[in-house]
């Protein structure tokens, strides 16, 4: 694992419970963002203003991106 990935993982672990406790947030993972850089992806049932306000664009130098996925269900 690269240093970048390690840092992203640390930041993700530190904040993910806080983000997951926001109504509508259903997942937090590490992925390649729209700008092609590695960052944190936040899966939400529906993108709305409340969520946009509570999820920052960046935390400790790591970029976050919100992605609308709908609810995850056992298939």
């Amino acid at each position: 694992m690269t240093e970048d990935q390690q840092k992203i993982r640390e930041v993700k672990r530190k904040y993910e419970r806080e983000w997951l406790s926001i109504n509508g947030v259903v997942g937090v993972g590490i992925g390649i963002l729209t700008d092609k850089n590695l960052g944190i992806m936040i899966s939400v049932t529906k993108v709305d203003e409340q969520i946009r306000k509570k999820i920052p664009d960046e935390v400790e130098g790591i970029k976050l991106e919100i992605r609308e996925t709908g609810e995850f269900k056992a298939l």
Partner: protein, 333 residues
């Protein structure tokens, strides 16, 4: 002579029976002729054959003529063309990728066969083989699953051997009730002069790594150690970002995708207000629907990387196979 597409299309039904009379031809169609490995601009009647044989090995009658009624022909070796089999049917022996389920559920997918202490077992999800913790060891496992017509009397393929319990989180706003209970008790405490006060808290359930279970076949002859429309599993691999994926499942059959996220923590709904939190998951794009649960997920080079269990209209969530194998203490056969 170069004919246009419409001309050839009209001609094809006339010559089709002659071409199908040749012993190796399995399909005919229209396409650009390939010459010396390169596609030309010449439209031709393409005859698909099981195996391309040398001219010397064929009699003139067996050979596809270079032109037929003025249209160039081409011969393309495709192998034997088989209908893709419907995974919701009954299979004995049964491969991975087909319908399976505990007798009280609808249907899921038989992931693959695995080995534990020299015995072979069906691998799938807990919510497919063990009815989301509700089943008992020894319960009937049906192939196909009940939704696809499987019955205990006729289609039992095995019995539930082991499952990893899923830890569900209480989320149905227990807080409203517990808050009022707490405030009532606190008021009472105040009245009787006690200094301690209560606060309702939501108990954090343990995180889950896997949704998995195994079932033992009744008859070892029912084991077909491959995956429908994919073939043999060639080993185990560690999934990484961007990796190409494939699976064969009960509902959507053969589909492909890529690893879009790793190290995913997510909340998954199991119906009737049951939610479970999963950690260290893989996320891929839309490559599954209800009934595909339990599918083995393979890399481009046919190595197993995960066990599919959840998703939404845009995404698929997959357990890492290393976590599954470790939890159940199983390996590939």
């Amino acid at each position: 002579m170069a004919l246009n597409l419409e001309d050839i299309r009209k001609l094809l039904p006339e010559v089709r029976s002659e071409l199908f009379g040749k012993p190796n031809v399995v399909a005919t169609g229209i396409g650009y002729k390939v010459s010396a490995g390169k596609q030309t601009e010449e439209l031709s009647i393409i005859c698909s054959v099981e195996i391309k044989k040398k001219k010397q090995a064929l009699t003139e009658r067996e050979m596809v003529p270079p032109t037929i009624q003025g249209v160039t022909t081409d011969v393309n070796p495709t192998g034997l063309i088989r209908a893709l089999q419907d995974p919701t049917g009954r299979f004995r022996p049964a491969p991975g990728g087909v319908s399976v389920g505990h007798y009280l559920i609808t249907a899921g997918t038989l992931g693959c066969w695995v080995k534990k202490s020299n015995k072979t077992y069906i691998l799938s999800n807990n919510h497919v083989l063990a009815n989301s913790n509700e089943a008992s060891i020894g319960d009937s496992i049906l192939q196909p699953g009940p939704y696809d017509g499987g019955t205990v009397a006729n289609d039992q393929i095995g019995i539930l051997s082991e499952f990893i319990p899923i830890e569900f989180t209480e989320t149905v706003n227990p807080c409203n009730i517990s808050n009022s209970i707490a405030s009532f008790l606190n008021a009472l405490a105040k009245m009787i002069g006690s200094k301690s006060r209560m606060k309702s808290v939501r108990v954090q359930a343990a995180d889950n790594l896997v949704d998995c279970a195994i079932a033992e076949p009744l008859d070892p002859n029912d084991v077909k150690n491959e995956i429908l429309n994919i073939g043999n599993i060639l080993g185990v691999e560690n999934a990484t970002l961007g990796m190409g994926l494939k699976k064969s499942g009960r509902t959507t059959g053969y589909t492909t995708g890529t690893v879009q996220q790793i190290d995913v923590t997510s909340q998954v709904s199991y119906g009737s207000n049951k939610v479970a939190t999963f950690v260290d998951q893989l996320m891929a794009g839309a490559m599954s629907e209800g009934g595909d649960s339990g599918s083995a997920v393979l890399s481009d080079n046919n190595k197993i990387v995960g066990l599919l269990f959840a998703g939404s209209s845009t995404s698929t969530i997959i357990n890492r196979i290393q976590n599954v194998f470790q939890a159940l203490n199983v390996t590939l056969p």
